[in-house]
Subunit: 353 residues, 2 copies
């Protein structure tokens, strides 16, 4: 690769986040360092379990860089889990294959009071070390994204103790014990701000906040229990100068509110066309906003010509100020060749002028 | 209760469905015959398991009528399960407490080819008998609603074999084997039409189609694999003359399309305010449409004054042509007094003139 091509690749994701002209549409893939890659499965086998992989900096670095080399994406995202800071707050956490995460549920005032607001550099030193190693390993090829979970999503994990479907216990707390919910959200927010600031100090060049379960909330609950805390995090990170991406998953009904959080980039799931999303987001934000998304990850199981038709449609609807991504994490059974083909298509079809 | 009050109660649900003037807003509650009621749990214990309760007409009749007496709702919905017709098509079905339904997954062309299109009066005679018993038992107090699952939702159960969270296998079929998906949807649609027609013949005075998993689909998949089959069902049932309710769950991004299915009433989940939903639905349908919904079921865990504030808000946003309901099924731990209070509030605050 020639030097100018290297520079173009290194810059295009951050330029698109800031709304600056790009040579072609940048792409990264949610959960790109993951089970669909044989390279990942080999490194994971070395680590033992999932949490050990998160906590072993050189292995976390290795899987973070794999998709940059293998798939050709324009940004890396540090390999970790959104529940890591909850564990640092004092919530015991385990992972089992096929079952997902298990936490000791936090439901009483006493349990909330006992939670720490940890210093991320100390409690999550392994993550900061993984970020530093990865930045060195990437050697300027592409920027590294740091991330955290949005407070409502973190609350739902803490209260449910697992990935939920109905979110009954966590949503019930909002209606039945709103003051307790706010107390928990305060602690999560303070933890998340320090956690993201530490990631920037360690070398993250952009940040994404995952609000994975925003879509479980009605509009009033979102405005009361989710949005104000996201706003505080966005504002606290603004002085860091790195682009901030807010992914409000299944949040199509919440987009107008979510856009007022102040993020530079709004991540959009696959359920809403990007032209519709842009109209809603930019009207609410009162400024141009970069959109990230939103091909349905399951579309990667279609034949290549059908994938290409859909990629072209996403690009056409997105217009300028666009970071291509899937509308949700890539699915483990996805053939890696499809991810590689996707990156090639986006770069080819997204080329400017 | 005086005769005119009895007549008002007996009529207000169907009048609201048809857009005719009513004395007050009618209400029924999704999953109103269910685990939150001690009366239900007693009858269920007599039946043994859930499926036996569905298939024992006098017990199904008993639990169907309970909320009419205990909670005071303005319509009954026949106690059954949306998976009953899948079993009649030849898919073995079991239920276990806490685990939900289990079906033998239908994933190959051979498995789809082997499915029957059953005659509902024969294969589901127990349901038709339960409807006849219930109509006699209700004795004109309130009308009885029959129901079925929408074809995409039924396909997802058939392919996944259980309640899913990611819907990977069913959504993958749409992209990877669209012709097979259409073949399965054709059989489900033919089955559903006969199944709903039989319920009307047995005495159902309205029908609801539950598209529980519509929200898992992107807009293009909804238009290709869900909507056309819903339209065919609505059209096939139109000559029956009973109001048709389409509940497109988590379908806020799909509402404009869903409204073109031709249903008399659109069921709206708790994620979209009814004034917004009405604007979208009526613009797309090109006619006035009755809306059904949409208090968050978890709001019933709030204190009574907060519930009343929210009921008033739903009524205000709904305007005329409204059937009050929750925006999803009532949750099993809900105290029955809250459901009783809800019905009282809706009737009091919804009173006309």
């Amino acid at each position: 690769m020639k030097t100018d091509e290297k520079t173009l690749r290194a810059d295009r994701f951050l330029r698109a986040c800031r709304g600056e002209p790009v040579d072609t549409t940048p792409i990264w893939i949610m959960r790109q360092a993951g089970r669909y890659l044989p390279e990942y499965r080999r490194t994971r086998a070395k680590a033992g379990d999932f949490l050990a992989l998160c906590k072993t900096p050189d292995l976390a670095c290795e899987v973070t860089i794999q998709p940059v080399d293998v798939v050709g994406v324009d940004a890396a995202i540090i390999f970790s889990d959104i529940l890591i800071p909850l564990e640092a707050m004092g919530v015991p956490l385990t992972f089992s294959d096929g079952e997902g995460p298990r936490l000791e549920p936090v439901r009483t005032a006493d349990q909330v009071a006992k939670l720490r607001v940890p210093v991320a550099d100390e409690a999550c030193g392994f993550l900061m070390e993984a970020i530093r190693l990865t930045v060195r390993g990437l050697d300027g090829r592409v920027p590294l994204i740091g991330f955290g979970g949005a407070p409502w999503t973190m609350l739902s994990y803490a209260v449910e103790g697992k990935t939920s479907k109905a979110f009954l216990d966590s949503r019930r707390m909002l209606f039945e014990a709103p003051a307790l919910a706010h107390a928990l959200l305060e602690k999560i927010t303070a933890t998340t701000i320090d956690y993201l600031q530490a990631q920037v100090r360690a070398g993250a060049r952009a940040l994404q906040l995952f609000d994975s379960w925003a879509g479980a909330l009605g509009p009033e609950e979102f405005r009361t229990f989710a949005l104000p805390y996201v706003k505080r995090i966005v504002e606290a990170l603004r002085p860091s100068g790195v682009p901030f991406i807010y992914f409000c998953n299944e949040g199509s009904t919440l987009l107008a509110d979510a856009a007022t959080a102040g993020a530079d980039v709004m991540g959009i799931d696959y359920r809403v066309p990007l032209d519709d999303a842009r109209a809603t987001v930019e009207r609410a934000a009162g400024r141009p906003v970069t959109l990230q998304g939103n091909l349905d990850p399951v579309a990667l199981f279609a034949p290549l010509p059908e994938i290409e038709r859909r990629v072209a449609d996403v690009l056409r609807r997105a217009g300028e100020r666009h970071v291509f991504n899937l509308g949700h994490g890539i699915q483990p059974p996805t053939p890696p060749v499809k991810a590689i083909a996707l990156v090639e298509m986006v770069h080819r079809l997204g080329r400017r002028g």
